[in-house]
Symmetry: C2
Subunit: 327 residues, 2 copies
């Protein structure tokens, strides 16, 4: 066994702890706050029903709501996240101006199938999902590893995507501080620890240590639990290892660094926190310096969940961008 | 003579070429386009008269116009720039919501005195200018070396500054690609060349090589020449060497790298282009990763003049920030 695969094995062990934390993290552990913003379809992040569509032999779980008329915005989720892990403030803020579509990719939570061990595999499944909805073109958002899947979708199917939003993500061959399997040391440490209550994991993953950022984190947790009925099911124990393997393969990608980004001509909005410890901030700089037409926004004193901390600013920025502002 | 001082001597020789280009660059060489946006004071960047105020033994030339009511925004100018070098589209866009104040620091163009060889000296003069106007607090904008002066002003006089906008600038000990005197190799090359007409210098300094960016550059040059009466006088030959010396001292600053930024608590908006070759873009990342409360915006496919290329987006962003949006 090589040193590299030993490293990966060790990280997978750590990740199984994370899996335990996540499995324990699916139900509300405190009083919920009802959703405030009513989207124009009458549905919100709190009330939109979970629906299903079949493609590629997979039964995909998704929710679709928001104001009709513009291109829908399709969301690609972060590590071990399910339908409930999106911030309702962000979903409802965007749904006020367009349809939003959130879904579980294959093998995640209430979707059937297996999680592929590459983002290329996840992208193919996501493309099949979008095709199954009969959509010829969409706007695409990806958060963290979802941003890697989103990049791959645009590479595979350039005509399917009009505009791209990448949050807290990285190009192939990213900088991860020498962490094993291209996972930052902070990620391994934070996901390897236990939390009481378990959802406090997200205070570490998404927010900085500052008082202000932690306060924003507690507000986020309230929103996270504000959907109290028809919540999604937990992810199973096979999700984390497959997603981590995909991250390792993404980081190992051979060839000229960042060259593939030059072929992504969609207007792209890249966002992160000034202090993202999960996917280092500098990766967002690599993205905008190699994508032909990309703007960068970094929010102050914020970590991997910058857009949840600054959800109002994010919604303003993203709606403006999707409404075809030049930038 | 050390190798370092030889390098600097060589750069000063290059800079004298730049000086010649700049001296030749003060009058319009093409048909002018009148200013379009009327600021609320009735004055615009095209029509605002040049006024004078005395302080520190210096007679400062300045222009002040725009809608009264909020804190004025004071602008700190780039290398060898005078009152006419600000983009009228940016000035008028901001003047629609607040007073803007542009001025020549000591020794520059129509202001008397000598240009100090440090940004600390320039900051003291700028502070004397603001005090002489009777202003107890202002918002501050600095572009390129003007952003270095602006940082120093905030360090010197934290109570004088409410909010800070830093465009295309760098902290002390900046990254300049190993260029002599902390000047990037591209800067030395671009300012060392000659241009016909001379104002085409700015197409190289402010814009990328792309067709789209160059087209934006030609639009900028039209705006630059749109003030046809009461233009400022040229800078003299002593300005460039003193400003270059200040840049060298800023880059050499001893002590823990970027530590001084932690004491700047003003909400700060940092902006640059994704491909700034004059002050490398990565310096903007250093700024927001070390300032306690700073947001970064990088505009796509743009160089040192990113905010002139994306002047509409910049005006929207800056007005929102100065109107006390959180970020």
């Amino acid at each position: 066994m090589t040193e590299h695969s030993e490293d990966r094995r060790e990280f997978l062990k750590v990740a199984s702890l994370a899996g335990a934390a996540l499995l324990a993290n699916q139900g509300p552990s405190r009083a919920a706050e009802p959703g405030k913003a009513a989207a124009h379809s009458g549905q919100t992040a709190i009330t939109a029903p979970t629906r299903f569509v079949e493609a590629n032999g997979i039964r995909f779980a998704y929710r679709r709501f928001g104001k009709k008329g513009k291109l829908p915005l399709v969301f690609n989720q972060h590590f071990t996240g399910n339908l409930d892990n999106w911030d309702p403030a962000v979903l409802d803020g965007l749904a006020a101006e367009r349809e939003v579509i959130i879904f579980n990719n294959a093998g995640v939570a209430s979707s059937t199938g297996e999680v592929p061990a590459t983002f290329a595999g996840m992208a193919r499944n996501a493309e099949a999902f979008v095709d199954a909805l009969g959509l010829k073109q969409v706007d695409l958002l990806g958060f963290s590893i979802g941003g890697m899947v989103a990049q791959q979708i645009v590479v595979d199917r350039p005509d399917l995507v009009r505009r791209l939003i990448l949050v807290g993500t990285a190009p192939r061959n990213m900088d991860a501080g020498g962490g094993q399997g291209h996972v930052t040391p902070e990620t391994a440490a934070v996901f390897g620890a236990t939390y009481d209550p378990p959802e406090n994991l997200w205070l570490k993953v998404f927010f900085t240590e500052s008082e202000k950022s932690q306060a924003a984190g507690h507000e986020f947790l309230k929103r996270y639990f504000s959907r109290t009925v028809n919540r999604d099911v937990p992810v199973n124990e096979k999700v984390a290892p497959a997603q981590i393997a995909a991250l390792g393969q993404w980081g190992d990608h051979p060839g000229e660094r960042f060259a593939y980004l030059r072929d992504i001509h969609q207007p792209t909005l890249v966002l992160s926190g000034t202090h993202d410890t999960i996917v280092y901030t500098v990766n967002s700089l690599h993205l905008v310096q190699n994508l032909p037409n990309a703007k960068l926004v970094l929010y102050p004193d914020s970590n991997h969940g910058s857009w949840y901390q600054y959800h109002e600013a994010f919604v303003t920025e993203a709606n403006r961008f999707l409404n075809e502002a030049e930038f």
